[in-house]
């Protein structure tokens, strides 16, 4: 074998340009579907975490119909099983590696559920692509849930107090006062999550999704060159992520202009 990086190595790599082209399409599709499903899951998780379902609510009221001012019964009355489960999900996802999650989803969940075997766009194998999207979306949903929740909680409590003091209900206050301000605040973080997903999708090659990284592995297997295909992959990921984050930064500046004088 010659030097680590050589012109001949790049020439060999470029013979497989078709694989890289397909890899780009797969990576972009992965990121796109992941963002959509991840965002929907994030909203759902956020709603679940912020519900006010308290089956033991009655324990907070004492014999005279008053709110208790402390004690174990007051603590117990605040228990919300729905929020608890959603919180467990978020914390488990955030505290385990995405590699482990994706392997469990592929080898566990989608061995139990058999997916139809077909390809779309002529080269994307659904039975590998779909578990990849599911695993990434489940992961991203947990992070997006926290982003959305922190956005809502970042709105000053005085805003809700003012709205409620005018007679607006909890729901009206959320819809007209809190959410519009929260969404404006978290848009940059959501956009940033999109860039993160593009990069994280590289992990899907471990379950055989034909993305950019899979193209690298294919070239390596056929030519025994590794650095050249890796450098090509680096350039491709950079060309996907860098402009995306720049566009996001531009949109962000445009939006914040509106809220200033």
């Amino acid at each position: 074998m010659g030097s680590m990086i050589s012109q001949a190595g790049f020439d060999l790599t470029f013979k497989y340009v078709k694989l890289f082209e397909q890899g780009i399409v797969v990576t972009v599709m992965l990121a796109l579907f992941t963002v959509i499903f991840g965002f929907l899951l994030g909203i759902l998780l956020c709603i679940l975490r912020m519900t006010d379902i308290r089956p033991f609510r009655f324990l907070a009221i004492d014999r005279n119909g008053r709110l208790r001012d402390g004690g174990i019964l007051l603590t117990l009355s605040k228990f919300n099983p729905v929020s608890f489960l959603a919180t467990c999900y978020v914390e488990v996802i955030r505290s385990t590696p995405v590699l482990v999650q994706i392997l469990i989803i592929y080898h566990g969940l989608f061995k139990a559920i058999s997916l139809p075997k077909f390809t779309f766009f002529g080269f994307i194998s659904f039975e590998r692509f779909f578990p990849g999207v599911v695993a990434l979306a489940m992961n991203s949903g947990a992070y997006l849930c926290e982003i959305i929740r922190s956005g809502i909680q970042s709105i000053d409590g005085g805003q809700s107090e003012a709205a409620r003091s005018l007679g607006l209900s909890r729901g009206q206050t959320m819809l007209h006062i809190v959410l519009p301000q929260a969404i404006r605040n978290i848009l940059p973080a959501i956009a940033n999550e999109f860039v993160v997903i593009i990069k994280e999708s590289a992990i899907c090659y471990t379950i055989g999704v034909q993305d950019i990284m899979a193209a690298v592995e294919a070239v390596r297997g056929a030519t025994f060159r590794i650095m050249e295909p890796l450098l090509v992959a680096t350039a491709l990921y950079f060309c996907l992520c860098f402009p995306t984050s720049k566009i996001i930064a531009y949109v962000e500046r445009r939006m914040s202009r509106g809220s200033k004088r």
Binding site: S165, G167, I177
Partner: protein, 258 residues
């Protein structure tokens, strides 16, 4: 005074935390009558803001009663005409109590006009056109007619607080609660806000005002409450409170602030 003149009756109101270790309110009993301008004074941490915020249940008390038009609004369920227990519609009661905050709490993503029309339109109290007409005439009264299309960030502190007052007036409340309305203002803007409040008082609006403006308390208030450590230590007409204070804590407080 006849019982039906009592707009709000507060009975033995308590707000305890940590099993009573901290007592923000410790048995406050007072009646607020129609047309009263009640000024609440006291050192910081005395519970005066907690008291005011409890009146429309922005703070939930842990004991006592607040009767608004004779209905105990601290209860989750109240008996209806037939004596059956029904859920208390707190939002309905809150519509009748306007509140003005220390930090204005205007909605930054809405224009001044939208800030004012949002609640009456969403709550179907007024049509959009009626609400806008009413908002404009109120803005006219506080000298801000030309700022209707502006956003809160474009206004000075004094202007924001005047908007906050007329925003609350849009719901035609029966009582206005002011929580240190001038404490976050530059000194030169305090006057313009007090002027609006004075005018409101002269029109007969029932008001409860937590403030450090002793001049306002003396001039506009008809009753003054002095609070410390969650209790009302002394109450009376402004002249009694300021000219012949009896409680040593009040004498001490006044000697520091006057």
């Amino acid at each position: 005074m006849a019982a039906n003149d009592k707009l709000i009756q507060v009975k033995d109101l308590k707000k305890h935390y940590n099993k009573g270790v901290i007592r923000a309110l410790d048995g406050v009993t007072v009646d607020i009558c129609k047309g009263d301008v009640m000024v609440v004074i006291g050192p910081s941490g005395s519970g005066k803001s907690t008291f005011l915020r409890s009146l429309n249940l922005t703070e939930e008390p842990t004991g006592g009663e607040i009767l608004f038009h004779g209905v105990d609004i601290t209860k989750k369920k109240i008996p209806n005409e037939k004596g059956k227990l029904v859920k208390l519609d707190l939002d309905k009661h809150r519509q009748k109590m306007g509140m003005v905050f220390q930090h204005f709490n205007l909605f930054p993503h809405k224009t001044i006009l939208e800030n004012m029309t949002l609640a009456p339109v969403k709550l179907k109290k007024l049509s959009k056109a009626d609400a806008e007409a009413k908002a404009k005439s109120l803005l006219e009264r506080v000298g801000l007619a030309d700022r209707a299309a502006a956003y809160p960030i474009q206004l000075s502190g004094g202007q924001k607080q005047r908007v906050a007052i007329v925003r609350a007036l849009m719901m035609e409340p029966e009582v206005m609660l002011f929580d240190e309305p001038t404490s976050a203002l530059d000194p030169e803007m305090v006057g313009e806000v007090l002027e609006v409040m004075k005018e409101l008082a002269s029109e007969g609006m029932t008001m409860v005002v937590v403030t450090h403006e002793m001049g306002f308390a003396r001039e506009v208030g008809n009753r003054v409450l002095f609070m410390d450590e969650g209790k009302i230590l002394e109450q009376g007409a402004p002249s009694e409170i300021f000219d012949s204070p009896k409680h040593p804590r009040l004498q001490d407080f006044l000697s520091k602030v006057l």
